[in-house]
C-alpha cells in the first residue's frame, strides 16, 4: 500500500485526486492540504507518506521551496510536481530542488495513478514534452568558444596543469620538460587567449571558454 499526500490549493482538484487515488486498491491518500506549511506540520506528527503530489503555485511558500525543505527533512519522500507550468525554468528548478517527476495538470486521473506506479518502480514520471525540455538543458551549454584560441594539445596540457594549481616547476616535472619550455608554452597560450596571467587562464578554462 502506497501512502500518498497532496499539496494543492485548488480544493476541487485536490478532492478529486484524493478521492480517486484513495479508492485504488494499492493506494491510500489521507492527507491533502493546501500549503507546504500545513504539510510540514502534518509530517511532524504523523507517518511520512511515500509520495507527495505537489503544486508549484501555492499560498505561502512556493512548491519549489517546499521541495527543498521537505527533501531535506524527509529525503525518502518522492515528490511529483503537478502544475500548469511547463517552462524550462520551473521544470529545471523543481528537478534541482529534488523532484522525481513532473506532470502537467491536464494529466488524467488514471495517468496520475500510473505515474505514481512508475515512480515506485524506479522511474521518473514525466510527459515526453517535459522530457524534451529536460534534455535540452544538456545540449545548450555551448555558448561561444573562442575560435581564435585553438590551443595545441600540448598547450592544453599546460592549461590543465595550471587549472590543477601547479607551479611552472611542477608542470615541467609532470610532462618531463624544462621549466623554460613551460614558460614558452605559457607565453603562446597568453597570446592566443589575449590574457596575461595564470589567473585569467584558469578562469577561462573553468568557464569553458577554451
Amino acid at each position: 500500500m502506497i501512502e500518498i499526500g497532496i499539496v494543492e490549493d485548488n480544493v476541487k482538484i485536490r478532492n478529486l485526486i484524493q478521492r480517486y487515488l484513495d479508492m485504488q486498491e494499492t493506494m491510500s491518500c489521507k492527507v491533502a492540504v493546501d500549503s507546504v506549511e500545513e504539510m510540514l506540520e502534518h509530517l511532524e506528527n504523523n507517518s511520512t507518506p511515500g509520495v507527495l503530489l505537489m503544486d508549484i503555485q501555492l499560498p505561502g511558500m512556493s512548491g519549489i521551496e517546499g521541495i527543498e525543505l521537505i527533501k531535506k527533512k524527509y529525503p525518502e519522500i518522492e515528490i511529483i510536481m503537478l502544475t500548469i507550468y511547463h517552462d524550462s525554468h520551473k521544470i529545471f528548478d523543481s528537478l534541482v530542488a529534488g523532484a522525481s517527476g513532473y506532470l502537467l495538470k491536464h494529466t488524467s486521473l488514471p495517468e496520475i495513478k500510473e505515474s505514481i506506479e512508475t515512480l515506485m518502480d524506479g522511474g521518473a514520471p514525466m510527459s515526453p514534452q517535459i522530457a524534451r525540455k529536460v534534455i535540452q538543458h544538456f545540449n545548450k551549454p555551448e555558448p561561444q568558444k573562442n575560435p581564435e584560441s585553438n590551443l595545441t594539445s600540448r598547450e592544453q596540457d599546460i592549461v590543465n596543469g595550471l587549472v590543477d594549481g601547479l607551479s611552472y616547476k611542477l608542470i615541467a616535472d609532470r610532462f618531463d620538460i624544462s621549466i623554460d619550455t613551460v614558460r614558452a608554452h605559457i607565453r603562446n597560450i597568453y597570446k592566443k587567449l589575449h590574457v596575461n596571467s595564470k589567473a585569467e587562464v584558469i578562469a577561462k578554462s573553468l568557464r569553458g571558454e577554451i
Copy 2:
C-alpha cells in the same frame, strides 16, 4: 511520411526494425547501415532522413561520436539512441552529444514506432527508468561546500577580484584599500581554504566549492 534511417550492426535486429517501420503507413525506412561511416557517406549523396535510430556499440566510430558528427553537418536530423547500455554515463554523453531520445533494445517494435511519433510531436522518447537517470544528473551536483570555509563578505570580495583576474594592486584599487590589506585578507583566505596560491582559490571558487 517520416523518413527514417538506422545505424545498427546487428543484421537481424536491423532488418527486423527496418521492415517493421517501412510497412507503416506514415513511415519510410530505406536506409539501414551498420556503421556511422556508412551513414555519413549515404547522407552525402541522398536526401536526409528526419529521424535516425542509432546504436552505441558499432564497428569503427562509436554511436556517440557519430551523433556529434551527424548533428554538426545535419542539425535537423533527430537522433534516437537504441542500445543495450543503461548506465548514466552513456545516457548523459548521448544527450550532450545531441540525441533527442534514448531507448533500450528490449523496446518492442510498436513502442519504437510510438517513440518516433512522440519525437515528431516534439517530445523526447525515453523510458521512465532512463528519465530517472537523466534527472538524477540535476540533483547530484552539490558535493561538499567546505563548511570550515566561511569567508567573510570582505574576503568574498577579494576572491571575486581574484576570479576576475585582477592583481593585488587592482583589487586594492577596486575596493579602495591598500595592497597590504589585500595581502592580509588573502593570507586569511588561504588559511581558511587550506590553499596557498591564487590559482587554487580561483579554481575552488569557479567549481562552486566556496
